[in-house]
Symmetry: none
Subunit: 457 residues, 2 copies
Amino acid sequence: MTDARTLELLQDFLRIPSISTDPAHKGDVHRAATWVRDQLHRAGIANARLIEGEGHPLVYGDWLDAPGKPTLLLYAHYDVQPPDPLDLWHTPPFEPSIRDGNIYARGAADDKGQMLILIRALASLMERDGRLPVNVKILFEGEEEVGGEHVSRYLAAHTRELSADAAVVCDTEMFAPDLPTLCIGLRGIVYGEIHVTTSRTDLHSGMYGGVAPNAMQAAAEIVTALKDRDGRIHVPGLYDDVLPPTPAERAAWARLPFNETEFLEKEVQSEALTGEPGISVLERIWARPSFEVHGIRGGFTGEGAKTVIPANAVVKCSVRLAPGQKPERVAAQLAEAVRAACPRGAKAEFRVFHAAPPSLVNPDHPLIRKSAEAMAEVFGRETVYIRSGGSIPIVGLFSEHLGIPSILMGFGLPDDNLHAPNEKFCLANLFRGIEAMQRFLEHAGVSVDQRMNEGSA
Amino acid sequence: MTDARTLELLQDFLRIPSISTDPAHKGDVHRAATWVRDQLHRAGIANARLIEGEGHPLVYGDWLDAPGKPTLLLYAHYDVQPPDPLDLWHTPPFEPSIRDGNIYARGAADDKGQMLILIRALASLMERDGRLPVNVKILFEGEEEVGGEHVSRYLAAHTRELSADAAVVCDTEMFAPDLPTLCIGLRGIVYGEIHVTTSRTDLHSGMYGGVAPNAMQAAAEIVTALKDRDGRIHVPGLYDDVLPPTPAERAAWARLPFNETEFLEKEVQSEALTGEPGISVLERIWARPSFEVHGIRGGFTGEGAKTVIPANAVVKCSVRLAPGQKPERVAAQLAEAVRAACPRGAKAEFRVFHAAPPSLVNPDHPLIRKSAEAMAEVFGRETVYIRSGGSIPIVGLFSEHLGIPSILMGFGLPDDNLHAPNEKFCLANLFRGIEAMQRFLEHAGVSVDQRMNEGSA
C-alpha cells in the first residue's frame, strides 16, 4: 500500500459529485456508494454490499473472524453538501486540487477523506496480515447531510445484526493542527418553530397601530423573554439536568491552545462574544445549553414599504442540549416557557421539528484510551479530550438503538471550510489518520482481549 | 350616466394589477395611468395627460372656466398594494367579484373605487350642464403605496400651476356604514429599516451557539426595547411634541357609535387590544404615535431545518406620528434610540425610507362645512368629524407646498380590508359617493361665491 495510491483513490472519490440534497445528483450519489463498496471489496471485505431503500443506499460489510475480540462498528458518510456559492471556489469543487499540502474539493474533509482513512486502514491490515485484529461491521451512509433518514430506520430495525462493543465515527476535527484529539462529548438539539398568531388577518398599521397586537412584536417579546442580553436562557427547569464538567475536565480545557481574541476575530468575526457571564467560552459551547433564533417568518420583508401589522409570525429556533439534558423534557419546558412568555392579545405555540440527545463518553473507557494512545503514537503528542457544541445524530442513534459508545476519531482541521467554499483536507492528516486508525484497531484487539482474559481469570 | 356603466368601469379599472412596489408590474401601473387619462377625457377634461418622470406617471388635467369660483385640486391614486398572501383571497385579487352589495378586488376601496367617484362626479356634471360649478385641477398619482416620490417632486416644482383654494382627497373611510364622515386629522409616518449586523458571516449554531452574537436575537432585543408590552414607545423625546385633542373633540369622539368589543371581534379579530393604558381606543389610533414592526428579514425562514446563527437582520418598521410631531425629529430620535438599544456584539442603524408629516384641518373652514352639508343631504344624517390613524402624505405636501387644506371626503368602510386579503368596496357608497361629490362641487360653487360677494359688498 502506497501513499500515492491512497491519494489517487481520494481524487477519484472526490470527483463524484454525491450531493445528497439535490435530486439531480441522485445518480452520482449511487455511483459514490458503488465506488465505496468496490473499495471495501478490494480491502478484503468480501461481503460488502449496497442496502437500497427509500433515499440513498447504505453500504454495509463485515469481517467477523476474530472470535473473542471486540467488535467495532465503523461509520462515515459518502454524501456531500452542495458546493454553492460556486463563484467563491478557487478551483472547481469536484476537480480535486492539491496545494500547500492540502487537497481542495467538496467533501475532502466532510467526509470522504475520513471515510477513506477507515477503508485504507482495513486494506493495510488485510494486506499485511491477511486478517484484522478485531471484528468490524462497516456502516456507511449517503444521507448524513440531509438528516440520515435511511440509516436511522435501518438501525432501529437491525439492532441485532449491528450489535458491537463500540462505534468508530470518522467525521470530526482536531482541536488544532498536529494536536491529536478525541471528541468525547456532543450537544443534542431540539429544533422547532414558535408559531405566533394575533389576528385572523394582517391589519393596516395606520388604522390599527396603537391598539392591535402585532405578531412580529409578540415574537420579539417571546424571543427576548426566552433569552436575556447576557445569553442566559429563561426556560424554567432548563438548567436543572445540565451535567457540569468535572474539575479535571475544566482544567484540561484551560490548557488547550485556545486564544479568545483570535477566536473572536478569525472565526466569529464579530465585535464581541456573548453568552453567560462567568463561564468560559469552551464550556459555553461544549457543556451549556444555548438558544438560537434562526429566522422569523411573517409580515412583509420584501423591498419597499408595506405598512402591515402582521397577524402571524413563525420563529425558527433551536436549543442545543448539554450532556444531562433530555430532548423530550427540554421540548416540553420550552413549550411551556413560550406559552408563559406570550403577551396579551397573542397566541403562541412551540412545535418540535426534530430532536437529538446529547452524548458524553467516559474518557476512561478502555477503547477510548486505546484510541487516544494510537493517535498520540502517530502524532507524537498527548491526545487531548475535547467536546463539540454540534450534534452528530448518528452518535445518539448508536447509543439509543445499540447501547454503545461512539469513538469520535476525527482528522479534520478547524479551517477546513466544511459546508463552505474551498473545503479542504490536510494530506498529512490523511496519512497520519490511516496509521492512527490501523494502530487503534491493533491495540483494540490486544488490550480488550487482555482485559477479557483478566476478567475471566 | 348609469350605475351599470359606473360598475363596468370600476371592474375594468380593478382588473389592472397596478402594484406600484413591484417592478414586474411597472407596465401595468402605466396601463392604469393611461386608462385613467382616457376616462378623464371622456368626462370632459380635454387636456388630461400623463406626466412622465422617474417612477410611475402622474395623471393631470384641469377645467378652469368658472371665473370667480373657487378652485379645487382633486386627488386620488391609481396604484395598489401587493395582494399577498394570495391563498387567503376567496376570489382572485385582480378579478373583481360582486357579492352582497360589495365589489371584492385589490384596490377596490384603496383607492380605485374612490378615484372613480371623482371622475364620475365630474362626468355627471359635465353631461348635465356642459360645465362645472367650480374650477378643478386634477392630480392623480401612481405611487401612493410606495411613498409618492414623483408627486412630491412635482408638487414642489409646480406650486403656481397647482395653486387652489383647497384639495379634495378621496382616499379615506366613513366611521360607520351610512354615517357621513369628514376626516379632519391624519397621522404622519416615518417608515424605515433597522439594519442589524453581528458578524461578517452566518455561523453554525452548534459550533458557536452560546458565544456568538445573533443578529436576529439582537433585532428582537432592539424591537422590545423600543416598545414595551403596554404599547408605550421608549424613544426619548418622542411624546414631547404630541398635541392632545381638545376637550370638545374628545367629547365628540365619545359620542361616536363605537363599540370596543365589536371593534375587537370584528375588525382587529384578536384576543385583546393592546396599547397605552388610560387612553381611549380612538385617541390611541388618531392622536397618539404608534410603533409597528412589519417584518424581519434575515437568517433562514424556509421549510425544514437550518442551524444558522444569522449575521444580519433587517427590521422593517414604522412610527405613526400624531399631530404636532415632526418627521425629521422623530426619525432622528428613533435612530438614536436604536443605537442605544443595540446589544453587545451587534451594530444597528435606522435608515429612513420615507416620511410624511401629520395634519389637522380646521372644521370651521367654509369648504369643509359645505362638504359636510353635501354628504349629510345624500346620506340623510348629520356628518361627523373624525380623524384617521393612517397617513396620507399628500395632505401634508398640499399643506407644505400649496398652503391649502385638504378636504378628506372618503367613502370606504372600516371592514374594507385595506392592504389585506379580500379588499372590498361597498357599491352603495360608490353611488352615494358620486352624488355627494357632485353636490359638494355644486355647493362649493354657490356658497364660496356668495361669501366672496358678501366679502366684497
